[in-house]
């Protein structure tokens, strides 16, 4: 069991734009909030040299923007821990999280915001020659290829923009594109710039089968997908930009639903299939993966988590810790019959000298409690003793009938 210092309201796994925004909202809602982040705060955004579409910032750098997110979260008292989550247990109401350095934490709600990592092609030579010509970050490594020939694999925004950055150093950059001539996955502005760049060349309908070289990269084996033919191209460097995969492997045994690639399906509130667990940003199945949409996810999830926690706390105080037996009434404020019934139930209880405590749950806003007790219709009434269900009432509007069930 974790000691009391390690108990939180909200734990956010991951400190990219989604996680940090959730931290700002969580901290502002006075939730005891902890962000657990493995590397540098900011996540993938740190690797973006230039951001030109985050509202309010005509042009800014990725890491600068993320520092501002973090400072903002700190002003609301959010705590940060640099560590990696190894293991989770979401089977109880109190969620447990174990980190690599051995510490254990518990939280009422958990937000999964740990982003993505570069996908590997798993072709021969890719791993072996890493750091010896195989690279994944142009900012880090482009300079090592001064005056040399470099191959870039992929045609997304990152591939093309990083490719152009590499032309500042390399003699020639050859881009290997899966699609037909002229078609790339990146934005149009970048594609046009790339086509005009004298140092950029393109090989269409192709992919890479193998990275060649003994101690250092000496070339690549290219496969044309249309003709099936293989050819070799001499180069000293290969940069892979073949997309990302979510870093959600640690959730495999957690019961959180994921698709084949590791993305998590959520509803409008960012709720996963596990109560009190939310997935945001690049960890969820979604249409647009940008800083602005990640921030939106974080805000939504934090507010949803805040309401969930509030519901949980008030339920614990009113129902589980109550000395009297509790009549847990599920109603819908928009349903007249359930309101009428509610009045009757309170009257009957008064006639019985307040033998019970009546606790009302509005189904419209407190879906989680309804789900927990398998309630589908309003009105419904459960009789609880210290949280244990004793019986369910037949919700009749007949006073005597109702009273007889309660004696």
């Amino acid at each position: 069991m974790a000691d009391i210092m390690n108990n939180y309201d909200l734990i956010i796994i991951g400190g990219g734009p989604a996680g940090l925004t959730a931290a700002i909202y969580g901290g502002r809602a006075r939730l005891k909030t902890l962000v657990i982040n493995k590397g540098t705060l900011g996540g993938q955004v740190n690797t973006t040299r230039e951001i030109v579409n985050y509202p309010g910032f005509i042009q800014t750098g990725g890491s600068g923007l993320m520092k501002m997110f973090k400072t903002h979260a700190e002003t609301f008292g959010v705590e940060f821990l640099k560590d990696e989550v190894n293991d989770v247990d979401f089977s109880q109401e109190e969620k447990m999280i174990r980190v690599k350095k051995g510490k254990e934490f518990s939280a009422k709600a958990v937000l999964i915001a740990c982003g993505c990592e570069p996908r590997l092609l798993n072709i021969p030579g890719e791993k072996r020659l890493r750091g010896s010509g195989v690279a994944y970050c142009a900012t880090c490594d482009a300079e090592f290829f001064e005056g040399e020939d470099v191959v870039v694999v992929g045609s997304g925004d990152q591939a093309i923009e990083e490719g152009m950055y590499i032309t500042k150093f390399a003699r020639k950059v050859t881009v290997i594109v899966l699609h037909d001539e002229g078609i790339m996955d990146c934005n149009k502005v970048s594609a046009e710039k790339a086509f005009q760049n004298d140092k950029m060349e393109f090989i269409w309908n192709s992919t890479i089968e193998e990275v060649l070289g003994k101690d250092n990269v000496e070339g690549v084996k290219i496969k044309n997908l249309k003709t099936g033919e293989s050819s070799e191209l001499i180069c000293q460097g290969v940069f892979f930009f073949v997309g990302m995969v979510p870093s959600t492997h640690f959730l495999k045994e957690s019961g959180v639903e994921m698709d084949q690639r590791g993305y998590i399906p959520v509803n409008d509130l960012m709720e996963t299939n596990v109560e009190g667990v939310y997935a945001v940003g690049d960890n969820r199945i979604k249409y647009l993966r940008q800083v602005v949409s990640a921030a939106g996810d974080g805000a939504t999830a934090a507010v949803a988590a805040e309401r969930y926690i509030e519901e949980l706390n008030s339920f614990n105080i009113n129902v589980l810790e109550c000395d009297k037996k509790v009549l847990l009434l599920f109603l819908d404020a928009l349903n007249n019959k359930s309101l009428e019934f509610s009045t009757l139930l309170e009257e009957v209880n008064r006639e019985l000298n307040e033998r019970y405590k009546v606790v009302k749950v509005d189904m419209a806003t407190k879906k989680n409690q309804a789900k927990k007790y398998w309630i589908e219709n309003v009105p419904s009434v459960l009789v609880l003793d210290k949280g244990q269900e004793i019986k369910r009432l037949k919700c009749s509007l007949n006073r005597e009938n109702l009273k007889s069930q309660l004696i």
């Binding site: 493995k38 590397g39 540098t40 740190n46 690797t47 890491s63 640099k82 890493r130 750091g131 010896s132 010509g133 195989v134 690279a135 994944y136 970050c137 900012t139 880090c140 490594d141 090592f144 290829f145 250092n216 990269v217 000293q236 460097g237």
Partner: protein, 108 residues
Amino acid sequence: MSLQPLNSNSFEKIIYDDGESCLVVFSRKDCHVCKEVVPILEELAPKYDGKFGFYYVDVEEQKPLFQRFSLKGVPQILFFKDGEYQGKLAGAVDDEKVSDKITEVLES
């Protein structure tokens, strides 16, 4: 504990003249993977105090050093013992990988 930076001269002395068992991380300031790897080393270093050296080379300031080992990227951790090169670890590595490699070098 921050790592001791090396230049060409101190590199020569520590690695070849003294033959110290040690690692040298080649890094640069604006590389995000380096920013993850260097703190791991800083945390690990005190554990090996007196047994295994931890050093740092900034590739922007010490070009001849990375050219000499024909490095093609950062971060890279090079291992040395008795003045001989013992292999390297490239890219994002965790503390376990580094510890394993140190043990291997010390026991070789």
